[in-house]
Amino acid sequence: MEGGFTKNLGKVYGLYTIGFLVFFALMALLERMGASPETIGIGFLLFTIGIYALIGWLSRTAEVDAYYVAGREVPAVYNGMATAADWMSGASFVALAGGVYFGGYPYLGFIVGWTGGYVLVNSLMAPYLRKFGCYTVPDFIGTRYGGNLARLCAVIVLVVASFTYVTAQINATGTIAARTLGVPFEVGVYLGLLGIFICSMLGGMRGVTWTQVAQYIVLIIAYLLPLIWMSNKLGYGIIPHFSYGEGVQRIAELEAQYGLAPAAENVAGVRVLTTPQNSPAGGGWGMVTLAIAMMTGTASLPHILMRYFTTPSVRAARKSVAWSLFFILMLYLSAPALATLTKVNLLDPNLPTSVIGKTIEEVTNIEWVQRWSEVGMLAVADQSGDGIVQLNEFFMRPDIVVLATPEIAGLPYVISGLVAAGGLAAAMSTADGLLLAIANALSHDLYYSIIDPKADTRKRLIVARVLLIFIGLAAAFIASLKLTGILGAVAWAFCFANSGLFFPLVLGVWWKRANAAGAVAGMVVGFGVGAWYLYQVFAGGMEPWMGIDHLRFGIIGMPASLIAMIVVSLLTPAPSQEIQDMVDEVRIPTGKTILGSH
């Protein structure tokens, strides 16, 4: 049956895509017939989660290989799609365009960073880790360097980074579920978690892989359709990607005309536009430090690296990195276009959708302004008292730019339902991957490799599933406390990962002389220095060094890790001949995997 499934993937997902589009058309028809926005929103959520749950149930497994690495039989193209969904989180889908909208040029560092990282994954990591044949990232560290201490350090870094990341994703699922179903945020968080469990509990990596492919299809349709619709409405052509340069220039004119003054009085939780769309002058350093932190973080995040363990061969692992980036670009090339067109819609007084320059009364009567104001994510305040909405009197939460765009552009509500389903797919797929990475590291590396190496298959899988539930509940609890914004928490996760894991992973393949003591020093010092710097800058009131703020603390952690690793490795004896031979073996694609099939 399974063989039949992997042979018919094209047909299965083709039918699924058509089915989804038919469902979309049906919802559009319902809206025409007068169905309420709530009905449509609930319809989208239930339909998509139902499909994911079905896939999760069909992929249930009791085999270790299937549970940890999807049986190593995922073709490169589909692994690319699954990685893209795994990768594009609530942050990419929901928050990125808003970040670019409000942050301007320095925030483009996220776009360059979250794509350029795949060059590092492909050159330095994926093929070698695949050849190694590990189940988890700490598996590689533990075997390459030898010793449980190195393995344990890797587990700790992995858990901290992934846990920080997963709370942000559960936060995003909670926000979307709460808004669409009309339940309190705290309830939304646990509802979102339930959906995540259904996808990952029974089938492990196999279940997650095939739901992620389905989630990618939903999220990319949900991102591109409103953008293309909006582009045609504004006269930017069918595909806006090559023509929105005019919009960038139009915004520059409007910025000069309105001025980018800060608000006279701040409103909590929302902000006005003060950063120009494109002004690199003096911003280059901020831009590239962010980009470097995100690129190296990409290459160190375990939930991404472990996706390349699922391919049938080393060559397929490399190929699937290329496909991953291709599928990711479909969204990343669109995010700045979306931010630009939405900004044109709001700012350009020649368009019927604009709000700036209209009277306060007119703007507060717009339906979407009312709807988002009610939940405190938007505010219009006549602080100058002239009765006209100025640019610095229109407040918005950056995270809502994508979700509110269909309404801002005057598209039918069915598009908003689609976007909500897409955002949910993005956040759920990433949360799936992260929870699985954490639970697998704890069950495989901590429990099986360190605590009880004699545990049988059944016991190992039960431990993995029980851990999954507890970690998920803990993450949902933290998320329901609303400690950080989405983009901030995600940037921290990247910096934890690159501070602790980047150099131990890279040098494990590229520097034979690296030994266990060096790797442990690299992880402990990098992670420790990074965490210390984060604490000092974020909570301790320290002035950031050279403008390196809390979003990019990996720029401080990584060099510390590199220096510690090199110095300690050179001061201690070289690794054994056996390990050096193992490194040689990892460097060629041919032959058996290092770990065999245990």
């Binding site: 483009l108 794509t115 060059v119 093929p127 690199p280 590239v288 041919t590």
Partner: protein, 86 residues
């Protein structure tokens, strides 16, 4: 022709390493140097975009994908030449 000699392997790794260094240099150009100098490039225009902005939102991204495809194609050739492909 699986030539398992140490010399063959060393040669294979030397080529792999050189290819990787080439890719990392390109990566640094498109991922760091060009975005850093967006200001200078913005005085030029491309497809109606300021050039520096265009690189940050499209040009560098497309370059990344092309680099990966190129690297994989070259690496496959190197693996085949040395008889170490799967």
């Amino acid at each position: 022709m699986a030539d398992n000699s140490a010399q063959n392997r060393a040669e294979h790794w030397r080529k792999t390493r050189n290819l990787t260094i080439l890719i990392l240099v390109l990566w640094a150009i498109f991922g760091i140097i060009i975005p850093y100098n967006a200001d200078v490039l913005n005085s030029m225009s491309f497809l109606g975009f300021p050039l520096g902005y265009w690189f940050c939102v499209q040009g560098s991204l497309i370059a990344f994908v092309l680099m990966i495809w190129f690297q994989n194609w070259r690496q496959d050739t190197i693996d085949d030449e040395h008889g170490v492909s799967e």
